[in-house]
Symmetry: C2
Subunit: 493 residues, 2 copies
């Protein structure tokens, strides 16, 4: 697959547009905000202000990405899709890897409990996946990005997201917005069309899953089966992204919370069809369910019933568990990858993206733990759970390690080498604030989609565009939802 290489224009993020002039900067930021709104990029306000929209935090300019390392992680994504699917179906591997964490963490325990009540090989599954990476310089030092030294950079995996993967919709639009900004500044024209491929990948993935369901199970009488989007009970921060994917799928869809579903759900006893509000459900698309706080006790029963049904789940519990940090850590151990990936080249490429990862409950990690306590700024401590946030850095890392070390709790944590990506100058544009010049670092997300039934792979693909989130380099914890990250687009150099 070829990269959508643009005219190189490294100067754009070097703020070479005399934006020191306050008025010019302000005018440029308003082009960005208007172009974003015109492209359908927005955040919806919290109730009771849900009719108020804001432009999400964005960078003023695209982020420069080095071509070769980027191409390598794009090429890896379909292999990662397969890998995640395979480990989700290797019951003994999955259970043994997670049982320690499950013994101390009720959330992992609940998911594993459902997993063990379902015949995972006899069900249609949809994976909408995103692998996150940060750029790493061979010597591990943090300094400004230098395009003349492309060969010295490689991408390191931060995590693989299997559940509630966000921003495939939003990310897709940001390119066009940055094009408007560059044009306004007489920047070199960026000859790339609106990159909506990840949006198509995700909307199309839902559609393929729906069609696979129709083919396999549906009797197609009366109203068509529905795509059930499972959402929070409360505020939907990211409704824009969710709706874009929903609309792109072109499927009849309803959005319901676990609680709403629980009030009107049943399994057809004859054929395990999932019926919600008297409508047959073809696909269940979770946009919640990755954190313990998102489930009441009844919601776990609801989830179990959905998992036991014939409806295609995105993701199944099996897929969801494959994205936990413990799995990532286990796969990084020598020899493990070999069980799942035959191709030695793919294994090598993938392994190159791994940073050091250790189970702090294990004896063999003692030396590394000591090194981390002495050099806390070179590590991050993560709980097993999927998704960003909840990580421990610096003093907090020391405190947490001391707290759990030697207790069963330690089994729930993974110690990882901290990636220190090169920096780039940019401007951060946020609602109700003046644009701010900043030294930034960025994270790159590669989108993947897979439809499968046990060993039978019906679809396996990756997006060509990537998600860029950008934050001030002095902020440790990124995350778009937490407000620390700005979305951006890429300029491949």
């Amino acid at each position: 697959m070829g990269l959508p290489l643009m005219d190189s224009q490294p100067e754009v993020t070097k703020c070479g547009f005399s934006l020191n002039e306050h008025e010019k900067l302000s005018e440029t930021a308003s082009v960005l905000k208007d172009a974003a709104a015109c492209s359908g990029i927005f955040l919806r306000g919290l109730p009771p202000n849900q009719d108020v929209l804001l432009t999400p935090p964005m960078t003023l300019f695209p982020v420069l990405l080095p071509e070769q390392p980027l191409q390598r992680i794009l090429d890896l994504q379909t292999h990662i899709n397969l890998l995640q699917h395979r480990i989700a179906h290797d019951k003994s591997f999955l259970v043994s890897t997670l049982q320690g964490a499950a013994s101390v963490d009720p959330f992992t325990r609940n998911l594993l409990h459902i997993y063990q009540q379902v015949d995972v090989d006899d069900q249609l599954e949809l994976g909408l996946i995103r692998s996150d990476y940060m750029l790493h310089q061979i010597d591990g030092k943090q300094r400004p990005f230098d395009i003349t030294k492309s060969a010295e950079y490689s991408y390191k995996q931060v995590e693989v997201n299997m559940q509630c993967v966000g921003l495939a919709g939003l990310s897709a639009m940001v390119n066009g917005v940055h094009n408007q900004v560059l044009k306004f500044l007489d920047g070199k024209k960026v000859d790339r069309p609106h990159a909506i491929e990840s949006l198509e990948l995700y909307g199309g993935g839902l559609r393929l899953a729906y069609e696979a369901y129709l083919k396999e199970y549906s009797t197609q009488t009366g109203r068509p089966p529905v795509l059930l989007i499972v959402v929070h009970d409360g505020f939907e921060f990211n409704i824009n992204d969710q709706r874009l994917i929903e609309f792109e799928s072109k499927l009849p869809a309803i959005r319901r919370s676990f609680r709403q579903i629980g009030q009107n759900i049943r399994l057809d006893s004859r054929n395990r069809k999932l019926i919600v509000e008297e409508r047959e459900v073809a696909v269940v698309y979770y946009r919640t369910g990755y954190a313990p706080s998102q489930y009441s006790e009844e919601d776990w029963d609801t989830r179990l019933m959905m998992e036991q049904s014939k409806a295609v789940k995105c993701p199944t519990v099996a897929h969801q568990l494959s994205g936990t940090k413990k799995m990532q850590q286990e796969l990084a151990r020598p020899g493990v990858l070999q069980q799942f990936i035959q191709d030695a080249n793919v294994r090598r490429s993938l392994t190159e993206t791994f940073v050091g990862q250790w189970d702090i409950s294990k004896k063999e990690a003692e030396d590394v733990i000591q090194h981390a306590l002495d050099n806390p700024d070179r590590y991050v401590l993560k709980p097993n759970r999927e998704g960003g946030g909840n990580n421990h850095f610096r003093q907090e890392l020391i405190t947490k390690i001391k707290e759990v070390r030697g207790t069963p709790e330690a089994q729930n944590y993974i110690l990882m080498e901290l990636i220190r990506p090169p920096t780039q100058e940019n401007y951060l544009v946020q609602p109700n604030r003046e644009p701010e010049a900043a030294i930034t670092v960025s994270e790159v997300g590669v989108f993947g989609a897979i439809v499968a039934k046990g060993a039978k792979i019906l679809y396996n693909a990756s997006g060509r565009d990537v998600l860029i989130r950008c934050k001030a380099s002095n902020i440790l914890e990124g995350g778009f939802a937490s407000g620390n990250s700005c979305i951006s687009s890429s300029c491949v150099v």
Copy 2:
């Protein structure tokens, strides 16, 4: 030109979706609002809340339009473009028609003053035009729209807009939004692609004007000439529409107020090139300037300088004056149209769209004036100025006629028959309010574009999609800007 005829689905605006259930209605309205925001439809908040966006007032369902009458006004638009251009260049006709109004109205006087200082035949002109119509039933009675009686309807012209024509951008997107709503409700699929033709017509019109300028005048050294968008000093209510057209034009553009332009404007004495902020201006696109309050005394000097330059104006003062109500009234007089339109069929079609119009300063209008005073609900009194608002209905009409009758002020007013369009049921969806069922009437806008230099017509075209504004039938004065109208899309039946 063929109409984009849809699968007829009259039921959609008959609220046949059991939307009486409050939850279902609320869910449907949220699909509308999200789809609108995802399509890039928004209103920007007033400073200091300019970072806050809202969804504009919209109807929940498309408006039904009868095919034959609609086809007739679509077919007329290129002739109207030509007509407006021709009367703008018939100096004696234009001056004699407007001198009465100019004698009492400083605004018309100022425009006419500029008109007389410019060689209107020796300049490139761009007209971005919109003709507004309302449906009229032969017997003039107001009752619910009945698609089985298509033959009894015809469209009557409300006005021809020549300056700051809005909503070509927004209107274009509403179709897609209504498609999402109908799909959500399992409505019959509307097999019409996103209709962005009027947006293309306007963005493309600006581009053609720009290219005509380059071809005719530019020496093309250094930075490319710029598209200068002239905007309010204050709040831009309709920034969405303006930006969509700007972005669609793909031209290098700057947005400036009259005041800002006045601070840094000059005419190159050798060649009458317009220079603003040391950049050559190829096209001046007014999005303000249709009301007296929008000009300071200095702004009139700025406008004069722009009119005297070689830059293409949209519109020129000549085009602007051709859109005044006095011209419309004069054209409705027997025999007048003949001076400008040779084709008798076109003349007949156009005349059929005219309602009765009278100059209340003229003796021959006495009988009609008396009839209006006795039946004020059958007339509307309009000032000469272009644009909606400022009209007098009912008791206000009586008061105003009595006030100005017999004085020179009367020359500034036009008495028009009131069109009473058939009604349709719909829901009005407005920010921060529950959706409201309403008996509505609607106005249809047909977009046109013309590029010309004197008698030489370089481009003359019309849009295929139309603008629909919809309001509760018991509200007299519509207008999107005044908050009384909801934008909508059309369902041709």
